[in-house]
Amino acid sequence: MTLTPDEDLMLQVRDGAGETLGVLFDRYQTPLFNFYSKLTGDRALSEDLVQEVFLRILKYRQSYRPGTPFRAWIYQIARNARVDHFRKFPRQTALEPEMLPPVVPTDSAQEQQEVELLQRALGQLPEEKREILLLCRFQELKYEEIASLLGCELNTVRTRIHRALQELRKAFHQLAQGTMLRKAEAAGNIPPQGGRHEV
């Protein structure tokens, strides 16, 4: 069985079948929630913004034109909703590592540690760099779609992705070095057997 394309469902919503929006909600709530939670680190706000996106879809459904790729359209709405929110309520705190969701334990301790570091490194990037990586890697938008979303040329998208990756690599390195140093310090502080008396 093939799934009804998002665009067809959205046309039904536009023509009055509001209940069909539930199918689109089921398809998009988790990706949108992750887009927001990885950008802001705030779960409650991310849930509110997802609801706001779907309310805006209802409000503006009549402006949806046949042939518009739905995914690009909904992310346009999602970006606007976020911008409007932070215009109304300016951010008081930056994204802190402890605000990030816990990493699910994997078989390999090293892999788990790397994912944790990567998550923290991503959190350290400026928001526009974090956003572009999230859009292409998590939301799986095509570069053409991102270009139209950000209102820039395709080549600019490529350059921005590359710069974001470069910065991510640097942040990741710094964090990894910091972790290694802390481990080495911790290892050095372990008192030898028999005890050692600090003076």
Partner: protein
């Protein structure tokens, strides 16, 4: 090949959209260059980041919002099946639209705009002549005429389009602002009123807009519009906001969601 040249290909390589030849070139470079290969490795690891799940109540909130929205609509004179018929009858075919007077006028404005900008480009980077400035202001007022005309259309979709058109202009003519305020107060469609409120929210510094919006808080019967109005008053933090919210709270039979929002907003204002 140098990193700079590879950097142009790397994003496409990562999405798997290179030709086999280009792919081999990138792979050969990655074997030699630690930095680039590390970037490619990080890209792959990004997919290992945990997928966060929204809370279980998220679906229920959506259902409640949808129901409230549909209930709000069905209270409208234009609601229900009549609205559906209108909506599905609305044809977005461009030729059809251009045959209508509004479409023809919009096309005229569009062509005039193309003419003005082509002329400007051909003329080179000279300071704008008084003629050009006059023409530009004429163009702006024509666009605003289109908005005025669209706001008076029978179809809710056309009025919604008119509101959307108004948001493309930074400065609005006082007549357009009055028309938008009129739409906010008297339009039968909740959607059009909500869109008019969005459009007006950009012009909150104008005293007539502020007053019109504060006045509609008492008048509008749709919980959706009332909640949007409360949010806007909170955003603007006008001196009068707390007093108006107090008045609204005393309204008998106030919708519980609206009452809750008023309480929340009052908390934020204090």
């Amino acid at each position: 090949m140098k990193c700079e040249q590879i950097s142009e290909l790397l994003p496409d390589y990562l999405q798997g959209s290179l030709s086999p030849d280009q792919r081999h070139t990138v792979e050969a470079h990655l074997e030699q260059c630690a930095d680039c290969s590390e970037e490619a490795a990080l890209w792959k690891k990004l997919s290992l980041l945990p997928v966060d799940q929204p809370g279980p109540e998220s679906r229920a909130r959506f259902e409640a919002m949808l129901q409230a929205y549909q209930a709000g609509r069905s209270n409208q004179p234009e609601g229900g099946s009549e609205w559906r018929k209108r909506a599905s009858a609305w044809n977005w075919n461009v030729l059809y639209w251009l045959r209508s007077p509004v479409g023809a006028m919009a096309l005229g404005v569009g062509l005039l705009a193309i003419g003005v900008f082509t002329g400007l480009r051909l003329a080179g980077p000279k300071p704008p002549s008084p003629d050009f400035v006059a023409m530009q202001s004429e163009l702006t007022s024509m666009k605003q005429l289109v908005v005025l005309s669209m706001l008076q259309q029978q179809s809710a979709s056309a009025r919604l389009e008119g509101v959307t058109w108004s948001t493309r202009e930074q400065q609005l003519d006082p007549r357009v602002l009055s028309a938008l305020l009129h739409t906010l107060r008297y339009d039968a469609s909740v959607d059009v009123r909500l869109a008019a409120l969005d459009a007006l929210s950009r012009h909150g510094r104008q005293p007539q807009v502020l007053k019109g919006i504060l006045d509609s808080l008492q008048q509008d019967q749709s919980p959706l519009v009332q909640v949007a109005l409360i949010d806007l008053m909170l955003e603007w933090r006008d001196r009068d906001a707390a007093h108006r919210l107090q008045e609204l709270e005393q309204t008998p039979n106030l919708n519980p969601t609206v009452r809750q929002r008023v309480e929340w907003a009052k908390g934020k204002l204090n």
